[in-house]
Symmetry: C2
Subunit: 468 residues, 2 copies
């Protein structure tokens, strides 16, 4: 469908201008004032048009546990999550739908789902998420979360000898074969569904798993996505496991390139940062989950100064507990003002928008075709209504959007030129029915005790030097 | 009006229970399952009832500059604000209305407006804000922002000699007389309008002004409210001005008591914290403005451990830039997880709710009559709709409310037993007309240069040891 958004505000160098934006065959065909309308006319008056943002790291099925996870650091939080995550295929579908809806309604047009797989039903799990994303029409990266070591291996032992853990339920090579089958079945960029190789991180993956993923990503020209140094415990673990930093080790394995995006990156050294910059890898900043889990404040201003690309993620809804990308962008910008006294280094709202859009697409190897308002790029666009109370009075539209607390301001969203949100409503999802399904499959819970947390807690406290 | 909220969820020790809540003559008369209904029946099914929160520090008229203020530290940001804040009485009224609406729609029933006064029209300014708050029906503290030293006095000089600044446009005693007149005219607790003495802070106030405020607050039994040690520059300034910490000095002046609430409190020493605890003064935590202005992270976990009462504020909308109290509560809780490795000290969602409600009322000397769901207390209540997508699936209602990103979940609000929000709509304000007024009186702005920032910047950078 061809259409022309008329009289819409777009950012311009240091200011704004009112223009018409023509979209033909899913591509931005022209941007200029008073164009001859092509196709349907869309009224852009009192609205702001921006490129879609990327929700560059999430775990959709964590939506089922949002609000209820104890206030714990990652390692213990993960133990609790393992105890209380009864997933089934329909739940995977519903939470992917919910994640897509919340991402869209906060300015996102692409989601990277570091997808938790139901054991022995991996391909079905992926199929359910793909079904949801295709239904909504959001651009989606399916990054199935894989590991080949058991949960306990993720906490430093405190011993200098190499640790032996019970083996994971599935051998590394079988996991890699599964990934290959999934790539063949699900990687369909022309339909907006991309596959990524996504070993969870150094804490639960062997070198063989990383190397297998490097091989597959090279063979199929796919992105790589992992957690990296989210916690101080992982920094300790890397030293125990490798005798060097996690980044140095991943670099030796050839895992880091310009198609590698790394979630969190809280505990990197200055020389680790240089390694990321050299490899042109992307840091996915998840400020809200880093605070909720007490992981730390990622050195984002240092990354910017080193020229490392940065994008924003909501992270899974058990560690945030929302999928509001505008909230992640706000906090992920202003949080760093307390880490550097020199305000000339602070992130401005316009810079934050660029990180969330162009930065997001760079990390997914899509910056040439997506991520900015430029003729020739694909039309992944978001139109914001500037007359909502939360964006008034009129001042700087992007300042209001990023630094304020906008609610219900997403008027329209197009992905690949196809409209999927119209008049603040997702077109292809019955949100009332989704709400009913989420309601029916859950109960207000009150208290619960995690057996695995109880098993791990004493060791965790001792290794992290916390008092009894 | 008497009414009974039926079958509503309320928090209970570690869990929740479904009860009926009876309100008679503005007072909570009974809380128990299956009560005989008294007055109007209100359906509480699938809803959560909580005591109203307190927006314990804001400056309503800053709404006119939200979104557009440069990304600067407080001292320079304030200089910019002074250059671009053309206030008039109608604007004061409209921004107070907007502040009240946003506070209500995010769970607040009381607002503390550290109100910026239009010079020579002080009583009219106060009257305009009072008019707005009475119209909305929110409980409001009018805390007129007063000072008796000029802006430049707020930045440390770097000299050891006492500094002489040009004198403020109005003598201290005249300001105090003005406050007395305002008290007589506007302090009407029975109507939900309270007056508070509110010298802006040590950076712009003389001892005489503080002492005058102590006198007035004692004579009329009123609260005191000030900024305190928001920035590192203010910490330096206190040493220059007093040769001791700001808290030690205010303590000597007799300014600190249980009716004193202090906004920010970022740069206190451990012994300062003890002084606040001894005086039972309240810290108003404004996490979002502290991040936006790079002021620092207030040591909230230390305050909790020392037994200092804490409440939450949004701060003015030029330094946040919203009045969403739920956002301030979320970030003001999880932010501190990165300041203490021991998760046993972290703030839980239930604790955060108590800080925002009972903590808020304690700081205003109203804890005996407000701030919790208890028989005999005044009915300042908020009913949340738990079936909105942002609060689903059903898990822990308070966890979802505090850690999620709820939107449009405030179903009903009562202040003093009077309903002022019904079915997610403010009853006595035409919000569409408010939007139109805010729209008409503003322009999307693009760039602007502050003369005062330019004048102060070099000195600020030098005093803060920032590189040229």
């Amino acid at each position: 469908m061809n259409f022309t958004i008329q009289n819409v505000l777009i950012p311009d160098e240091n200011a704004y201008k009112s223009v018409d934006v023509q979209i033909s065959d899913g591509i931005i065909a022209a941007i200029a004032p008073e164009l001859d309308p092509v196709g349907t006319a869309v009224n852009g008056k009192n609205k702001l048009l921006l490129p879609g943002f990327v929700n560059a790291h999430t775990h959709s099925s964590e939506m089922w546990q949002r609000g209820i996870m104890s206030i714990l650091p990652l390692e213990l939080w993960l133990a609790e999550l393992y105890d209380f995550a009864p997933l089934d295929i329909e739940r995977v579908y519903l939470s992917a739908l919910g994640t897509a809806v919340e991402t869209l309604m906060s300015g996102g047009t692409t989601v990277v789902d570091h997808l938790v797989l139901i054991p022995d039903r991996e391909l079905e799990t992926i199929a359910a998420a793909v079904r949801a994303y295709r239904e909504v029409g959001i651009r989606a990266f399916i990054a199935p979360l894989i590991q080949d070591q058991p949960l306990a291996a993720g906490i430093p032992s405190g011993e200098t000898d190499e640790q032996v853990h019970e083996s994971y339920f599935r051998p590394t090579e079988v996991t890699l074969e599964l990934m290959q089958a999934a790539i063949e079945e699900f990687h369909k960029p022309e339909d907006g569904i991309y596959f990524a190789l996504a070993p969870t991180g150094i804490q639960l993956c062997s070198d063989a798993l990383f190397e297998g993923c490097v091989g597959l990503s090279n063979n199929y020209d796919l992105c790589r996505h992992s957690h990296l140094l989210e916690t101080k415990a992982q920094q300790k673990l890397a030293q125990e496991k490798y005798g060097c930093t996690a980044v140095e080790h991943l670099n030796r394995l050839g895992y880091l390139n310009s198609r590698t995006s790394l979630a969190h990156c809280v505990w990197l050294t200055d020389s680790d940062i240089d390694i990321l910059a050299e490899n042109q890898s992307t840091v996915v900043h998840n400020p809200l989950s880093n605070l909720r889990l007490g992981s730390g404040i990622a050195p984002i201003l240092k990354y910017r100064q080193a020229g490392v690309n940065i994008s924003f993620g909501c992270d899974g809804a058990s560690s945030n507990d929302s999928q509001d990308l505008l909230e992640a962008i706000k906090i992920g910008s202003i949080l760093h003002n307390v880490t550097d006294a020199d305000y000339q280094h602070w992130i401005t709202p316009k810079q934050a928008v660029e990180m969330a859009s162009l930065g997001g697409t760079k990390g997914l190897n899509l910056a040439e075709e997506l991520g900015s308002l430029a003729v020739g790029k694909k039309a992944d666009l978001v139109l914001y209504n500037l007359t909502d109370l939360s964006l008034l009075p009129r001042t700087d539209p992007i300042g209001l959007l990023v630094l304020g607390r906008p609610t219900n301001v997403v008027d329209s969203v197009w992905v690949n030129g196809k409209q999927i949100v119209d008049n603040n409503k997702v077109k292809n999802v019955n949100v009332d029915r989704l709400r009913q399904e989420l309601f029916n499959r859950s109960q207000w819970e009150t208290k619960r005790k995690s057996k695995t947390v109880a098993e791990l807690e004493q060791h965790y406290r001792s290794i992290m030097n916390l008092k009894d």
